[in-house]
Point group: C2
Chain length 218, copies 2
DNA sequence: AAATATTTTTAGCCTAGCCTAAAAATAAAA
DNA sequence: TTTTATTTTTAGGCTAGGCTAAAAATATTT
């Protein structure tokens, strides 16, 4: 059996490797976990003993087959619980992360499958992130950062790259929830800010927003 | 903040005190927790430092006001999650205990209230146990052990005193789920077994079953 | 009341996860 | 290539929550 701490490390390794392929370095892992490099090294030894990772001193770590399955499963559970919290319990998309962080560690037979059935096999979570299926397969859809759109292009909001409550609340205030439509009116060369139309309203979005907002071009 | 371990001890103290009023002794607590008396003493010191219990060396322990609130809240959460697992996810009543044991420790604002709303404010869990409200108030309904019924009396199953999967499965096989109706046909003086009619079927139930099955007389 | 049995506590040890500080390995610069 | 900087690991400690064995307190017999 794996502990919650172990699971969180596996997830962190997965997350880092997803963005920057190749072996994950100790410092990066420690930063992601909000802990010290010494603690990360410690844990890497334990995970290596349990064959959940392939770890070479000073050279970094990668997930083993088993480790990868566990991490994928955690992400699946995390995202399914988020759907539950938003769709069934009525939480806002910026309120559910901490709950899901706990719920993903609930252990036991068939819980995930039953939850998935109950929710109607959702493919994306409330932030637009794909939910892997029971076999660990992902359905990634094509999406682009708002920054890559040019004046005149229109898009549908499909996801975010920043999951912080402040960003999510800001988007909600702007009416930019998943599925919202927007049109790029202009891009300022100076600071890469984007002027957009959302429904009737026109607003200027900073480069930071342009970086962190995903859309599907229509 | 309280840890899961602390919470489980508080719940155990509550449970023992419920059946046998007065101070809870260390050995009884250790037995309930499936641990050693030394470990229980250890934890009692921690709980006492946090003012969650009133503990006197060698004399036993009782819950403080705060401790009692935490324990009641845990039971509330446990039972609400059980309702969720049975009513929404479709688990059987003998399958949900271990899940609920984990789910009751999920921390965070408004989760319990939202869950309660979503479930439609159930008053009893799938085993017929009452669910305390947000203030910690209980609605206990009148119920009698099957053993106290005499020949000719009829009753509706309202709960169980034994929550073990084997007992619950046995009851399910007999058609004795919550709300089922039965009629006492006879009681054998020799071994206190009860002959009952459940729908069309007649069966003999042991003294043990008679002890552990609650009914409302009709 | 003394002896014996039982219960509870203390003492000392273990593991998982964290920490800081120091040492060692690797990478970069001179 | 030697020096310097950075990264990673090791060493040694800490806390929560367990354990066993021994000591102390309480309860029960004789």
């Amino acid at each position: 059996m794996t502990t919650s701490a172990e699971e969180n490390y596996l997830k962190a390794i997965f997350k880092i490797a997803e963005k920057e392929p190749g072996a994950v370095l100790t410092n990066a892992l420690a930063a992601e976990m909000g802990t010290s490099a010494a603690s990360a090294t410690d844990m890497l030894k334990r995970l290596s003993d349990k064959q959940l990772v392939v770890y070479e001193k000073y050279r970094g770590v990668t997930l083993s087959e088993t480790g990868n399955k566990i991490a994928t499963d955690l992400i699946r559970k995390h995202r399914l619980w988020e759907v539950f919290l938003v769709d069934k319990l009525g939480f806002a998309w910026d309120e559910v992360h901490d709950f899901a962080e706990q719920l993903e560690h609930i252990q036991g037979e068939h819980l995930t499958e039953r939850l998935d059935d109950f929710l109607g096999h959702p493919r994306y979570d409330p932030h637009g992130d794909p939910i892997p299926d029971a076999k660990g397969e992902w359905i990634r859809r094509p999406q682009t950062r708002l920054l890559t759109l040019t004046a005149g292009q229109r898009g549908i909001v499909t996801g975010v790259d920043d999951h912080s409550p402040t960003f999510l609340q800001y988007l909600a205030e702007l009416g930019l929830s998943l599925g919202a439509e927007l049109e790029v009116l202009d891009r300022t060369a100076y600071d890469q800010s984007t002027k957009v139309r959302i429904g009737e309203r026109e607003t200027v979005l900073s480069e930071k927003v342009g970086q962190n907002l995903y859309v599907r071009i229509i």
